[in-house]
Every structure is written in C-alpha cells, then in structure tokens.
Symmetry: C2
Subunit: 366 residues, 2 copies
C-alpha cells in the first residue's frame, strides 16, 4: 500500500499505472509483441549530441526488450520536417518524435513550458520539477489534449546568448538589432526593441556575414563551433537567459502509447531517464574543449550587461502574464514552474552555489 | 558499425557489450529466467529519499521485466550492517547493495572516489564524468577487483557542512574541535586540527547535547531536520565541501552480474539512471521546505570562512598526493576526476553559473 503510494509520487503521469500494474498482474514476457516504430528527430545528424540521444534511447529500448521494440531514428526532414513533427506524431504519420516541445508553441504557447522559457529553471531544477514537482504529470495532461505522450529525454544545460556582430554595453544597444531568435524568447526580445528574425540554421552564417541580421542565437560551444559563427559575429554572449535548462522530449502518439504493454511503457520511461542524463553528460564533456577552440578562433566572450538581464526578466514576466490571462493550461503550468523556481533556488543558493563559487574561483588560481 | 561505436562510448563498462549484443542476437524474451535477489540498503527506512531510491530501482526493474526480476529491499542492518554491505555482495551473501562506495574506503581508499571526495565534482559534473568522461568504466575496472559491479543510482547534491555548537570565524577555530566526520574528509579535517570522531547516526544527538563532540556532519536539510540537531548545535555551516555531488551506488556481485542475460543488464543500467535522477529530484523538492523549518527552529545558517575552505582545499590535495604515491588505482581515477573538474568548471562557470547568479540575486528581490 505504502509502496504503491510511493510509486504514484515517483513515477511520471500514466507511467504511475504502468509501473504499479505488474505488481499485481502476471508476467507477460511470453506474449510480448514485436513493436516497430519510426521516430522523427527534430534535429539533423550533424547535431550529434542531441540527435544521438534518440539513438541512445532506441538502442537501450531494444536492448532492454531483447530486440522486441525496434525504433528507427530518422533525421529532421527525412520523413517529417521539424515544424510538423508534433502534428505527425499526433496523427500517427510516425509513432514518435524526439524534439523540442517549444517548437510547437505557435499552436499553443503551453508547449513552450515543456522545454524552457526565459528565466525558467536550470537543468537540475527542471528535472526536480518534472520528476518530483508535478511537472511531468501537468505537461502530460496538456500533451494528452494534443494526442501526445511526452517523456523527458535530454537537456543541453544553460545555452549561450548567441553571436553578435557588435558589442552590447546596455539595454539601449538592443534597439533595432535584427536577431535570429524565435518563440517566446523572440517575443521577450521584441519588448526590448530587438527585431526577431526566423531563419533556418543553415542560413544563419551567410545572413550574419552579409549583415542581413546582427545577431543569432544557436545552442552552446560544441554545436556553435561547427557553424563557425565566430568568424562573422565575434561577440559571444552569456548566459542564454531564455534557455536555462532546455529539456528535449520524446513524444509518442497517445493511442500508440496507451496500447503498449505496461512493461514496454516502463522500458521507455527508464530509457528516457538514461537519455536525459546522458545528453547532459555529453554536453558537459564536449563543451569545454569547444569553448577553448572558439576563443582561440577569435570569439570574444562577454556577459550580458546587468540591465539587459533585468529588462529581459521584467519583459518575460509581462509576456507570461499576457499569455496566462487567456490560456488556463499555460497559467496553471507556469505558476507551478515559477513556484518551483522560487523554492528551488532558495535551497540551491546555499550549499550548491557556494560550493561552485569556491571551485570556480579556485580553478582560476590553478 | 558507427552505431556500435557510439554505443561503446555511451554505455557504461560491461554494459556496452550488454547493450550492443541484442543487435546481433535473437530475441530471448521467451526464455527469460526468473530472478529473485536480495538487496541490502546502506540506509535505514527513515532516510526515505536515499532508501527510497532502492525501492524505485526495484519497482522499475520489476515493471520493465514484466515481473521476472524481483529485488527485495532490506534496510541497513536487517540482514547486513552497512559497514559489511560491500563484502556481503562480493561474497554473495546478498546479490546486491545500495550504498555509498566511500563507506568501504578503509579496505582501499579508491572506494571513496565512487561517491565523493573533498572538493571533487558537483552532481552534474559527477554524472558527466561517470557517463561520458570514463568514470563508470574506470570505477568498474576497480570494483571488478573487489568482485563487484557498480551502477550509479542516486545523488544528494552538495551536502551541508554540518552542525556546530560554536561559531567558526577562521581556520584557527577548527583546532581541537571534536567533529563527527569519517573517511577521507576526516583525514582532511585532521590536517586542520580537527579531532575526527566516528559515531553512529543515532548517537550524534546525545553526543552533541552532552558536549562529548562539538560538531557533526550529516546530510542536508531534509534528512538533518529529522534528527533535530538545530536544538543542540545551532550553527549550520555550508557548503559541505567534502561532498560536492555524492553518488550512491548499486553494487551487484560480479559473478551474478556476469550471469545475467543481456536484456536484464540493460534493464538494471537504465533503472539505475532513473533512480539517479529521481533521488536528486526528491532532494531538490524536499530540501527548501526543510531548510525554512530549520531556520524557523533556530538554525543559524553560516558560510564557512574563506580561509577554512582554502586550508581544506590544500589539505585535501596533500591527502590525494599521499594516497596516490602508493595506490595506482586511486591515482589513475583521481587524476581523471581532477582533470574533468578543471575542464568541467571551465565551461560551467560561463553560462550555467552566470544564469544561476542572476536567478539567485533576483529571487531575493521577490
């Protein structure tokens, strides 16, 4: 009894039932069906850390099921373009996607909360909120309305604030800057006078080179390095305050999810947890060397001025209030995330932050 | 070919083979054996976040295997006392334990590196090192010599620096302080003049009350609160620099591990990843409220003086050099962890730390 209660707290959404059921039900391994699914990634193969998390998931799911569950991973655009990935899963064109929930915020801004919103949660608090703060359950109640089931499956950590052709010395300097930035972050930047531009990844470099745009946000050192932005827009700002701990999701067609045997659901939830941690680990392992290379290649590392952060923080909360006024799902989930942020940082600032502070200061002494 | 190579990098130790094998081997679900194992926890039930991670692991493993793998979890001391848990697994008295590797450092100090050493890695960098920095492989090469296989299965985050009867204003004040602290941390504190005491958890409160000891380290707000130390030793110091990101391990008897079908190995590795993230999430969710209660109950929150941290850092590295001089396993693994720390914080200090800094400062403004 107590154990079941514990499980309900520990597990994610429908997964609570998935994990609790075998305690009572007989073993069903002998009748295990073979599953062959297609997964469309929201990312190209070249973004190997993010794209690779879908392969990790597929490999682990296959290994755990003794080969019974086979998920074929396709790069963005090969069968479904990224902007249509959520819809393609909802309509069962493909059974699964591995993509950012916030790409679909145009359909409903609530989608943005599944990934990251400006001044939201860092990666660790995002996991805290998802796994134990009610986040997974609330998001899945929303995703269910979209005929989707979501499993957190990757994080990049705090991203960089992008590449800028000119130095920014105060919030005044943002006025009129044409910046490649999308979603709620674009709306926030617009309030600061930035002119948001939507440009596919492949067009950023020539646009920056020609001066068609003045700035572009991408990801972080390891991914940014591949595109060579340092050569055409050398000011490399931090932090990417609009992406404090972006979660990448596995989305599964809800009918397909509901049809899965309970053990297969549990297998997918646990593979998601592995992929989630493993992607973060890959970034933390690969970013340091890339950052050093970028600086050696001319990148000028700069913190955003304090007044930019403060103006952006205020603008972000204006945007949240505007959306919350007419969108009950957004309001409910954002209120929960915001409360978790307040409590989470209350603790995080004590032992965690002071330990990191010492380690960072000490590091520079050798 | 490429995928297999990727797997070898992504997976943990023997798990690389475990995860790769089903790609070639036929499905074996029909012949899945039933496994009934006993797991001894290094913790009592009352430490529900840590103890609970073993239950989470057992529940997930059972769910994923359709009931074929049943792991019965026993609290510390019910069948094996914590100090004998690793030995009991190595000799197959029990098949598994869920405990801190550093409890067994007396047998070989290399055990300490699996959990945490003073000024080691924070939780996120620990995962980075374990999953992608070679940590899991190196630790398992060492654990294999002890007839153990280890899977990371939980983290507390940076712990607190314990409860002190008197205020500490400089490193001078540490001299002669009788402190309940064990392991390598005890050796480090000894170099600063502290007199380390080894006392079981249940005896700490009366010892502090009577003044038999002057200070005691335990875990963090949620666990500390249960023992009421704030009533007898009100100074609550941070950070617990000897435990930056302590990993709790699942240990499995190596022969039992090697006998497992490949799909069962994969199931355990993925359940370990879930438990690892979920324990951290529970602490991040429960610690804030506990911290507020402790402060309301008279705890005086204090940062360690800077010269204490600096003296402890120097003492720690003296200890590591001393051990490394005569222990090749320790030297190899510590050198790897230390290098990861240097690179990891190089990146962590940029976007991650500056984002947290803003969020923390901003939080206090409301």
């Amino acid at each position: 009894m107590e154990r079941r209660k514990f499980l309900k707290t520990a597990a994610t959404g429908g997964a609570a039932a998935a994990l609790a059921a075998p305690l009572a039900a007989p073993a069903i391994a002998q009748e295990a069906p073979t599953i062959r699914w297609r997964l469309t990634s929201g990312f190209p193969r070249s973004l190997d850390t993010i794209y690779g998390a879908a392969e990790t998931f597929a490999d682990h799911v296959k290994a755990m099921s003794g080969g019974k569950i086979e998920i074929q991973v396709f790069p963005a655009g090969e069968i479904v373009p990224t902007p249509q990935a959520a819809e393609a899963v909802a309509t069962n064109t493909v059974e699964m996607a591995h993509t950012c929930s916030y790409y679909y915020w145009g359909k409903d801004p609530t989608f943005a909360l599944g990934t990251a919103v400006p001044f939201g949660l860092n990666a660790r608090l995002m996991n805290g909120w998802l796994y134990q703060g009610g986040g997974n359950d609330m998001l899945n109640a929303f995703y269910a309305k979209q005929n989707l089931y979501g499993i957190a499956g990757g994080n990049t950590g705090v991203q960089m604030g992008g590449w800028w052709r000119k130095e920014i010395t105060s919030a005044e300097d943002l006025k009129g800057v044409k910046m490649r930035i999308a979603g709620i972050a674009g709306k926030v930047m617009e309030k600061l006078g930035v002119v948001p531009q939507q440009i596919p990844g492949g067009d950023i470099y020539p646009s920056l080179e020609r001066g068609t745009i003045d700035a572009a946000e991408w990801i972080g050192p390891y991914d940014d390095q591949k595109l060579g932005f340092n050569k055409v827009a050398p000011y490399y700002y931090y932090p990417g305050f609009w992406e404090g701990g972006p979660t990448i999701h596995f989305f599964i067609n809800l009918d397909k999810w509901n049809e899965l045997p309970e053990d297969y659901k549990a297998i997918m939830i646990n593979a998601g947890a592995y992929a989630n941690t493993d992607m973060m680990a890959r970034y933390d392992t690969l970013n340091p060397g890339a950052l050093k290379s970028l600086i050696a290649g001319g990148a000028k590392l700069k913190p955003f001025p304090q007044d930019v952060l403060e103006a952006a923080f205020a603008a972000s909360h204006e945007v949240y209030d505007e959306i919350s006024a007419s969108n009950a799902d957004f309001k409910q989930i954002w209120d929960s995330m915001k409360a978790y942020r307040g409590e989470g940082y209350l603790w995080y600032q004590v032992a965690e932050y002071s330990f990191d502070t010492f380690q960072i200061r000490n590091r520079t002494k050798g």
